[in-house]
Amino acid sequence: MSWQTFLLHVFTYGILVYSMILLTFYLLIGAFSILETRSYLHKNSFTDYRMLASSTEAPTMSILAPAYNEGPTIIENVRSLLSLHYNNLDLIVINDGSKDDTLEQLIKAYDLYKADFYVTQLIKTKKVNGIYRSHNPVYRKLTVVDKENGGKADALNVGINIARSDYFVCIDVDCVLEQDAILKLAKPFLESSTHRVIAAGGVVRVANSCEIEGGRLVKVHLPKKFLPRIQTLEYIRAFLLSRMAWTRLNGLLLISGAFGAFDREIVINCGGYHTDTVGEDMELVVRMRRYMEEREEPYKVGFIPDPLCWTEAPSSYRILGRQRNRWTRGTIETLRSHKKMFFNPNYGILGMLSYPYWFFFEFLAPIIEFLGTIGIIIYFFTYAINWSAVVIMIGVICIGILYSIFAILMEVLTYNQYKQRKDILKLVLVAILEPFIFHPFVVWSAVLGNISLLRKQNSWGEMTRQGFAANKNPR
């Protein structure tokens, strides 16, 4: 056997084995997600959230909303957050050294004054310039913090220092939350009597083209533009299938930075958000889990499949590329920081399943896919094409489409946010087009993310949003 043939076989069978394991994971994720979603829906049918809304026994919650240059939308967003249904709730807006008039607008709109406030340094942060409270008792739940620019993680750490609550909810200030979002997110912390729930995540949905008025979601529409629409499918797949399945196994490693609740005491004990990573949301969850595993305390990370948080997805390839580049760097940084857990039985599911899955199928997948595609192109031009590899590739693409269709089916069977039949058909069309149009771009962005990390580029990347103002009556 010549070395070329050997290489060809290694390449082909390597891809085959990898694809088979990936397929097995897809099947398991699908099965576990069905079980978990069914269980959640049954349990939820007995839940009366109104009871919690009016109860003084409800745990205290703080919403932490970091804001950077949010001037055009901040007033409406804060008003929306202040109107959420929950009894023991306060809102902490952290102005992370905005260069625009975010702070001035807040002062004016909410009648704020600079208050004498002792900020405890439970977690070390950049300098706090001032704490603002309102003269108006209507806004007694609102605290605005003005601080030196230090990034989202640093802003959240300031919020954690200032909060006095049992739990905190971190959100992106420009997200739109359902009115009962906090009630639903609080439930996992209260219902487990055998395990301590250290964090709970909620589903994030794409809000592009949805009708939003006064900071509230009025009507759901499928995004009109192709990129947000394809991300709608991506979000459904990620949240309804993957995260639900990992929740079933108690192996969830990621709670979206846009919307998640955390046990404040555990977060403080873990040292808060790390400011030296761009994937601070995932890193914190992994560190919290590791902390609990090392103390051998029974714990859980919860997840709510209800659509509770709506966000604007990037609608240009430039912004999307930056986002995916950052997500890749965040994943690698987190996996690198916690490499001790890799196939380490001392960490249970976390070490033996969750971490390896993220390593092989989240971090390595785009690299393998990229190299595989290059390999096939090279073989094609050298007339040594291995048809087996090509067929495997076609098979993997078909399985990807099948998986997306299954995700759409799950959406239809559960929350069915897109009521019109033509919207579902559009999503199916998107599922078929995705592997050829969107997926190569995502893979390429991930490869660039790896390169950026090797070149030690650790910028967050500017996320320009169009805002929801233009989304009123989109059709």
Binding site: E57, Y118, W387, C398, R421
Partner: protein
Amino acid sequence: MLTIKTHLYSSFIIYWDIQSIALLAIVILMVCLLSFMLLYLLVKAGHEKKHTYWRSKSDTLIHKAVFDDEEKIDDMFIEETLGSDNLKKNRYFRKILTEEIISAKKNISGAAADNLIDLYRLFELDKYAIRNLNHLKWYIRAKAIHELTTMQISELVDHLHLFINDPNEYVRMEAQSALVQFNGFEGLSFLDTIAYPISDWQQIKLLQLLSHLPPSSIDTTPWFESKNSSVAVFALKLARNYNRFEQHDAIAKCLDHSDAKVRLEAILCLNEIYTDETSDHLIGRFLKESLKHQLAMIRVMQTLGTERDILFLTDLLNHESDQLKLDAARALAHASNNGMAALEAYSEQSEQDITEIVMHIKREMSV
């Protein structure tokens, strides 16, 4: 070149033969999934029409039962309203009617509620629900208990003891809630026998249900010693909510409980039920506790602290935890009329700078 091409072609044929079956299977699966989804959407659209039709019939019945107090709810009533009483045998209608009656009953009381109960019984929905109490699926059992409780079907009470230690949490929760709704505070007797922990969620629910009843002078002390820690926690919450001042000593004794959750609840309870000696109990236990519990104790001291606690609280201003220092300063300022003066005096004399803490407390007190 021709040989290579031939080789490529023949290798393609071989691999294609083997793998085409797998590929075909995936494509067939994809088509099946798509067809199922489209079929489901079509069926659902038809189902929605059917649902709207039966729902309007059910709405008519309920509307008449609720708004016409004088109406006698019997077979005649159904016939007069809907033109036929055959609907009793219509499974689909029964399901919708049950949902509608339950939903309406939750928001209605008095004669209208009694009419709804009569309507429920007239359709023999209670019999179906009682039959479902033995169903293998937990959510059907739990739903049956929930339904019968909402409709105040007293026959359920005889069955409830079977579910108090049901392996399924939701069945247990519904059974516990049912006992409280039927028997009031006496229904809490399940606390004597419950083997499973009661979640915080369920505790909130039970307290909420009890809040609708006239206040009781229930003695919760026997449950403080329950082997089930969640029972002790719940009993402490009851004592706090119903101001059981005579239970103070038993509550203070819980500060030495082996379970941290019970100790924390006892601390919180003492915030409402305290005597002149309470702060001594807290101070006596202070150094043995975690920071979380120490903070809770200091927050309680803010309520019950007196002149004689000033020294203890002043000492805490040297504590390494900033959070505890702030809370101690707050408790000190509230401890007596001289508290704020003591805090300011300490601030001036102390080597450590606590000016910001003093300013913070002053601002809070001025609001």
